[in-house]
């Protein structure tokens, strides 16, 4: 009897203990689930053979696959290069954990996703290794930003070198010009030269002079481009400027079906502003439109340039039918380094710089975009 009652007391105690473990287990699981569901990191678990047995919601997003699609597949299959992923797993096997930077994974859509990965052995109660847990942080955006910064740096460096070269070349060009001019004067004074010879020499000296003039123009343009300068305002005709800009972009428009429509206000549109800076802005806006049209434009691609007088301001519009800017990008297009072009193609500088330039001239750039149709940029600048 006595042993019976002590047994049942023991049973009650064990039952209570079990219940409390159950609660603890439940809470721990809920806690882990919460992490796995909410983290944006790719967290996975594999069995001892490296086969996936768990994947976080963030992991589904990073790789583009749903859990159903990847369950039971080896994790290394999702690395961009499975061969190169194996040493990381081997490291983990050897030391119980491993860290790897910039591990390239392959997104379902084919693009590369870079992650900083931290791997750990999953050990069971007997101390036996039963699998691997990995926590991978998606650093693709950071990497892209880094690449952009490198690109910007490189551009700035090229600018500096070009400016330096242009500057150095100026002096010898000036010497050639003066030497030729002097030679011209000597020829003019020379006695005993035949008429033909004299004419020939004069012609040659003039040519040397004209060509050095040309060199000078090139170096000045280059230096003007490389140098950041404050606006220097002068009277200019916006219509002329737009036509020049189109002429400048003509090489890009060649061999395309893009049509340029002009809807200008009547007569010349005179403003007092900085022609060089404005041209830079229009080259950027029209260049962007061309790029977008070539990328995703339909059959009858067009860019419409329009001008309107509004009180003391003028408004220039650049409209395209390239399908518009995706809703999620519309808030970012003036952000520094935001680009949808592939690395090396876009710097993410064009629009922010254009916005700055227009603001420095007392104006503003705005845009309207209809997804599926096209985009219109409007540049407002004061007349003086």
């Amino acid at each position: 009897m006595e042993s019976n009652s002590s047994l049942s007391a023991e049973l009650r105690r064990v039952t209570r203990e079990l219940a409390s473990y159950k609660i603890e287990l439940h809470q721990t699981r809920a806690y882990l689930q919460c992490i796995l569901q909410n983290t944006s990191d790719l967290i996975f678990a594999t069995d001892a053979e490296g086969t996936l047995v768990s994947l976080s919601k963030g992991g589904e997003k990073v790789l583009g696959y749903s859990w159903i699609e990847v369950a039971g597949k080896p994790i290394k299959d999702f690395a961009e290069d499975p061969q190169s992923f194996e040493p990381v797993m081997a490291d983990c096997l050897e030391d119980g954990c491993a860290l790897a930077m910039d591990v390239p994974f392959r997104h379902k859509e084919g693009r590369t996703v870079y992650c900083n990965a931290s791997l750990m052995d999953l050990i069971n109660r007997e101390g036996r290794r039963v699998g691997t847990v990995g926590i991978c942080q998606d650093i693709t955006r950071w990497k892209r930003l880094q690449e952009d910064l490198v690109q910007v740096d490189r551009l700035a460096e090229i600018g500096r070198i070009a400016a330096g070269v242009a500057h150095e070349i100026n002096n010898p060009v000036a010497v050639i010009r003066e030497a030729a001019a002097w030679a011209g004067e000597v020829v003019a004074d020379a006695k005993g030269l035949g008429t033909d010879d004299r004419q020939e020499l004069e012609e040659v000296m003039k040519k040397i002079g004209a060509q050095t003039e040309r060199c000078g123009n090139i170096t000045h343009k280059l230096l003007g481009f490389a140098r950041e300068s404050r606006p220097s305002k002068s009277e200019l005709d916006i219509h002329e400027l737009l036509k020049e800009t189109i002429a400048f972009l003509a090489p890009q428009l060649k061999h395309t079906t893009i049509k340029i429509d002009l809807a200008f206000a009547e007569g010349p549109l005179l403003v007092k502003s900085d022609p060089r800076l404005l041209e830079q802005v229009f080259v950027n806006l029209i260049g962007n439109a061309i790029h977008a049209l070539l990328e995703k434009g339909g059959d009858d691609k067009y860019i419409a340039l329009g001008t309107v007088r509004k009180d003391s301001e003028v408004e220039i519009s650049v409209e395209d039918n390239a399908g518009g800017i995706p809703q999620e990008h519309q808030g970012k297009i003036f952000e520094l380094f935001f680009t949808t072009k592939p690395p090396g193609k876009g710097t993410g500088l064009g629009l922010p710089i254009s916005q700055n330039v227009v603001r420095s001239l007392g104006g503003e750039i705005t845009f309207q975009s209809k997804v599926g149709v096209g985009t219109t940029f409007r540049v407002r600048i004061p007349m003086s």
């Binding site: 242009a166 500057h167 100026n170 002096n171 060009v173 000036a174 010497v175 010009r177 003066e178 030497a179 001019a181 002097w182 004067e185 050095t212 000078g216 170096t219 000045h220 230096l223 003007g224 140098r227 300068s229």
Partner: protein, 163 residues
């Protein structure tokens, strides 16, 4: 030859070839030209002889154009300076307290613009000098010196201003 025999030009540029050809052309036009290849040489020349207009390159090793110009004017207060600058350095030249230069010309310099600039600078120098001379003369007259004293003072002035 034109009528600039009496304009004395001091050229200062470390690009010797350029100075050589510009000198030759200016000489042929009738200017009196002294070619120097550094700020130091220019100051030495200005210490010895009198000049009307200096054409100074902004960027030179050693003493640069800004400093050369300043020192030249300490020696010869009426000397007018034309400063030659590379692209984009005009602002920096202006910022470094450079308003005393008569004119800035962009390099590579346009020869006709240079000649015109030298003539204008010479005119300005003559005017300033003339005005100052008049002022001094009046000051002396007003000072109540005797005839002898005035004659002597005027002779001194003539010597100083080369009038």
């Amino acid at each position: 030859m034109d009528d600039q025999q009496d304009i004395r030009v001091l050229l200062v540029d470390d690009e010797e070839n350029l100075v050589e050809y510009i000198s030759k052309r200016l000489l042929k036009k009738g200017f009196t030209v002294k070619a120097t290849f550094s700020g130091e040489q220019a100051l030495e020349a200005a210490g010895r002889d009198h000049y009307d207009v200096a054409v100074v390159d902004l960027k030179m090793p050693g003493m640069d154009g800004v400093e050369t110009q300043k020192k030249l004017r300490e020696i010869q207060p009426f000397l007018q300076c034309i400063v030659l600058t590379g692209h984009g350095s005009i602002e920096s030249a202006l910022e470094s307290g450079q308003e005393d230069a008569f004119q800035y010309l962009l390099k590579p310099v346009d020869y006709d613009a240079l000649v015109a600039g030298i003539k204008d600078a010479y005119k300005k120098k003559q005017e300033l000098q003339g005005a100052k001379f008049q002022e001094e003369v009046q000051r002396i007259q007003a000072s109540g010196m005797g005839a002898h004293g005035i004659r002597k003072a005027l002779a001194d002035l003539r010597k100083i201003y080369g009038v």
